[in-house]
């Protein structure tokens, strides 16, 4: 068991990393550990627990800006925002329940390090699109900052984006500033029943291309629809958010647009909120331990990709659903499939026009043998390695987590 160091000040955290850099001691960087099971298992003698650096340091609703220490619980941030009718518009997924953890855990630093997003990805982007500035300590044991507290800023390289989704392998982030946005006053969901994956893919992309400002487009095929409590026939869910009159107007228009394709039903506020939370958190795959893939692909190519995979006899029984208008596939495979289907999935993906497949969940041995993150072409991998070395030349931060 690694020894856990839990600094409570910026200076203390800097001391730990500077010491580790000098002594070449690998550190596993951790907040609440809610996403610890993602990526290659990290072998480190010490764990650097960032959760002691917590608290919202600035919140100005009129300026749409919030700053907090990286260890601040996401739940605390979300509550504060909700009380002012605001939110993090990128709707970060709560990964914890997929790993048997408690719903609602996780830190703001973790949201950023994993570049989380949710169903609103298709309209509002991911964490990377909302972070305005940060302070961090590099693997060289040096504190640095980037960005600021304003939306429009092109002063220097955009490290706020550059470090997003780097899983703690480039620097230990200590402070984050996010753009926040008003919460929609009303939500409604139009459900279309009985569509095939292909028809749903087409319907979702068509509605995303309408002027109706759809803020969530998911397809729940027969294999998983029951887990959403929506019966046994496939359901295509289209979400509308905004001011009440606008939502009423748009749901009527969307209903009319989709009715020729199948039976249509409209969900009101509580049922809508519940459904999109389940979609966000990949609910069908909670409470099990089967290997789970998260596949990002061009939206229109999602259904064809799954058609190709489902027809492969060697892939066993698959369970999946689509978010992001077809561009995000959550796919669970049977335990005993060789390499959890990595080769098959990644070659089918390449044949569908590209994207990436991440093995989000799987036993440690599997995540050591199979690259959990999409392998990169040589020149790109070499560039990524040079970037890693520019921040962490001695490889002390989460060594191996994103790659060998």
């Amino acid at each position: 068991m690694a020894e856990r160091l839990r600094p409570e000040t910026d200076a203390g955290l800097l001391d730990v990393v500077a010491w580790a850099a000098a002594e070449e001691v690998p550190l596993e960087i951790l907040g609440h550990g809610s996403k610890r099971g993602i990526g290659r298992p990290v072998q480190a003698e010490y764990t650097l627990d960032v959760s002691g650096l917590a608290g919202v340091t600035l919140y100005e609703p009129d300026e749409l800006v919030l700053s907090a220490k990286a260890g601040t619980p996401l739940s605390e941030v979300e509550k504060l925002l909700r009380d002012a009718n605001q939110e993090l518009a990128f709707e970060p997924i709560d990964y914890a329940p997929l790993f048997g953890g408690e719903a609602g855990s996780g830190t703001l630093g973790g949201v950023y390090a994993a570049n989380l997003a949710g169903p609103r990805r298709i309209k509002a982007g991911a964490a990377r699109d909302h972070v305005l500035g940060l302070a961090a300590v590099s693997g060289r044991g040096e504190a640095f900052k980037s960005g600021g507290r304003v939306v429009k800023n092109v002063t220097g390289y955009d490290l706020s984006k550059g470090l997003a989704g780097s899983w703690g392998t480039l620097a230990v982030v200590t402070d984050l500033t996010f753009k926040v946005l008003p919460r929609a006053e009303r939500v409604a969901t139009v459900l279309v029943k009985g569509l095939s994956d292909e028809a749903a893919g087409q319907a979702m992309c068509a509605t995303m291309g309408s002027a109706l400002e759809v803020s969530g487009a998911a397809h729940l095929p027969a294999e998983t629809v029951a887990d959403f409590g929506l019966g046994s026939d496939a359901v295509t869910a289209l979400r509308l958010e905004g001011f009440p009159t606008s939502v009423a107007y748009r749901s009527a228009a969307l209903k009319k647009l989709t009715e020729p394709q199948g039976p249509v039903e409209v969900l009101d506020v509580p049922a809508s909120e519940d459904l999109w939370k389940k979609i966000r958190d990949a609910a069908p795959f909670q409470g099990e331990e089967r290997p789970l893939w998260r596949i990002s692909v061009a939206p229109r190519a999602g259904a064809a990709l799954m058609g190709a995979l489902a027809s492969e006899p060697e892939t066993g029984r698959l369970r999946w659903f689509y978010d992001w208008s077809g561009g995000l596939v959550w796919l669970s495979v049977e335990d005993d499939i060789e390499d959890a289907g990595a080769m098959k999935i990644r070659s089918a993906l390449a044949a569908s026009g590209g994207g990436h497949a991440t093995l989000v969940r799987g036993p440690a041995a599997l995540r050591t043998g199979v690259s959990p993150f999409q392998p990169q072409p040589e020149a790109l991998a070499a560039l990524s390695k040079r970037l890693k070395e520019s921040f962490d030349p001695r490889g002390i931060l989460n060594p191996g987590r994103m790659g060998a």
């Binding site: 040096e142 220097g156 997003a164 946005l181 994207g355 990524s384 970037l387």
Partner: protein, 497 residues
């Protein structure tokens, strides 16, 4: 010109003919320009105070040519300055005397429009507006709309992370680019992202966007296209004070309304614009706000009513709502012509680009008034009020002794003030050469060193666009050195478990 550029390398200048000949082998025909008259149009960009003839200009047509040019320059340690349409307002495309100017304007094709996936794949020399032109027949558009959009290229937009009036609601270039193909200085061609929504691995696309031509040369861009809103209507609101206008902006956002555009002008800008385009702007107000609401018709009608009420609560002296597309266009005409309008009332003007927290606006405007007296120059202000991006236009006459110097010093003071109130040096025009030497007001040495190390990961010989963004050039070997030694630091005195 008051900025020092990297000293030209004599050994490279001595090889000028040979280098031009080699580039002609790579790009046959008209693609290489090396006579002074032919190169003259390339000696400056949108920041015309700075001029420098390049050593040679090359205009490749294919990715393979770009790759061979860069590899050749890398192998021979020749500096390269990439250029799109040359509309940079910060000198980002200012040539170097010993540098190859790599002009991407022949990469001018829209390669693919994919309405299902809501993307367009274009070559970097395609203009910003041409992307919208390529998709508008199906009711789509490309959201970022810098005011140079008729001329500026998408490749340049990626390099500068360009904005525009729609940023608050629809984001900057970085939020609207899904993928690029680019060539590294070694000649290696890589792809970042694509038609899928998030890129894998490190967010290199995020680093590339806004990197001002220092990290690589983009050869293809995949951008998000959006369906045009069903309707758009604008309010034109005059206020007796800047404070009233500023508070109104805060209250609109505080009420949960994110307008498609929200622009403010101060009295000198209002008068200049009105004299120029006769948009019907009120002349007896201190501040003018244009608030545009877009979306479904019912929503826009409701929001117009809400914004109207908020404006009235904030002492609006004058309020009009556009009743037609023509009227909306007229409201915008003055704002969009604000720069040339100011150009009519002054022989020259110097456009600044700081961003500030919105609430600091009255303080910044008041301080600027004092500075006008100190520097003996007038300022007109246009302001992307929604996102705090301020464009003070300093009026001067380059033919009068030291007015340019005073304008530059005034500008630098304004930018320092922006940083002091919690803002930044540049919101959308880039650092380039113009604000390079002010980087130290925002970043300390460690901040800058880490940014330079990123540069080294992409371009270890520092051949791509050197002299831009960073006030000093350091050797990558020096930047990479670790100044710590085993045993010097005690085991940290930190709670342990």
């Amino acid at each position: 010109m008051s900025v020092a550029m990297p000293r030209p390398k004599a050994e490279i200048l001595a090889r000028r003919e040979e280098i031009a000949a080699e580039l002609r082998r790579i790009v046959p025909g008209e693609g290489v320009v090396s006579d002074p008259d032919g190169m003259r149009p390339f000696e400056t960009d949108g920041l015309t105070a700075y001029r420098q003839l390049p050593m040679v200009v090359v205009l490749p047509e294919t990715v393979a040519q770009v790759s061979r040019i860069l590899r050749y320059c890398h192998d021979n340690s020749i500096r390269v300055v990439p250029r799109g349409s040359g509309t940079s307002l910060s000198g980002g495309a200012l040539p170097l005397a010993d540098g190859v100017l790599l002009v991407m304007s022949r990469f001018n094709k829209v390669l693919e429009v994919d309405f299902d996936n809501r993307v367009a794949v274009v070559q970097p020399g395609v203009t910003n507006l041409a992307v919208t032109r390529a998709v508008e027949h199906r009711g789509f558009y490309y959201a970022p709309d810098p005011s140079s959009q008729i001329a500026c290229s998408i490749g340049g937009n990626v390099a500068e992370n360009s904005g525009g009036v729609h940023c608050l609601k629809y984001g900057l270039t970085t939020n609207n680019v899904l993928g690029v193909e680019m060539v590294l200085i070694t000649g290696e061609v890589i792809r970042l992202g694509g038609k899928h929504l998030d890129a894998e691995g490190f967010d290199l696309l995020g680093l590339m966007t806004g990197s001002e031509g220092l990290l690589g040369v983009v050869t293809e861009v995949t951008v998000r296209i959006l369906r045009s809103p069903e309707t758009a209507r604008a309010l034109l609101i005059g206020f007796p004070t800047n404070e009233d206008a500023g508070r109104c902006v805060g209250d609109i956002i505080g009420a949960g309304i994110i307008p498609g555009g929200m622009e403010m002008m101060d009295r000198p800008a209002i008068h200049a614009a009105e004299d120029f385009v006769h948009a019907g702007y009120p002349l007896d107000v201190e501040a003018l706000l244009i608030v545009e609401l877009d979306g479904p018709g019912e929503e826009v009608d409701e929001l117009i009513a809400r914004v109207k009420a908020i404006a009235e609560d904030n002492n609006a002296a004058n309020l009009r709502v556009s009743q037609s597309e023509e009227e909306r266009a007229v409201f915008w005409a003055g704002r969009k012509a604000a720069f040339p309008a100011v150009g009519r009332i002054s022989p020259d003007y110097y456009c600044m680009d700081g961003t500030i927290p919105r609430k600091a606006l009255p303080k910044v405007l008041a301080r600027m008034k004092e500075m006008e007296a100190e520097y003996g120059l007038k300022v007109a202000n246009v302001f992307h009020a929604g996102d705090g991006n301020l464009h003070p236009l300093i009026l001067y006459d380059a033919n009068k002794p030291d007015e340019l110097e005073r304008a530059e010093a005034f500008g630098a003071e304004i930018l320092k003030l922006c940083v002091e109130v919690g803002g930044v040096l540049t919101g959308e025009h880039g650092v380039g050469v113009e604000k390079r030497d002010l980087m130290g007001t925002m970043f300390n040495e460690a901040d800058l060193a880490q940014q330079e190390r990123i540069k080294c990961a992409f371009d270890p010989r520092q051949l791509l666009n050197p002299g831009k963004v960073f006030p000093e050039l350091h050797l990558c070997a020096e930047l990479g050195r670790m100044h710590v030694h085993k045993g010097e630091l005690a085991f940290p005195d930190i709670p342990r478990f």
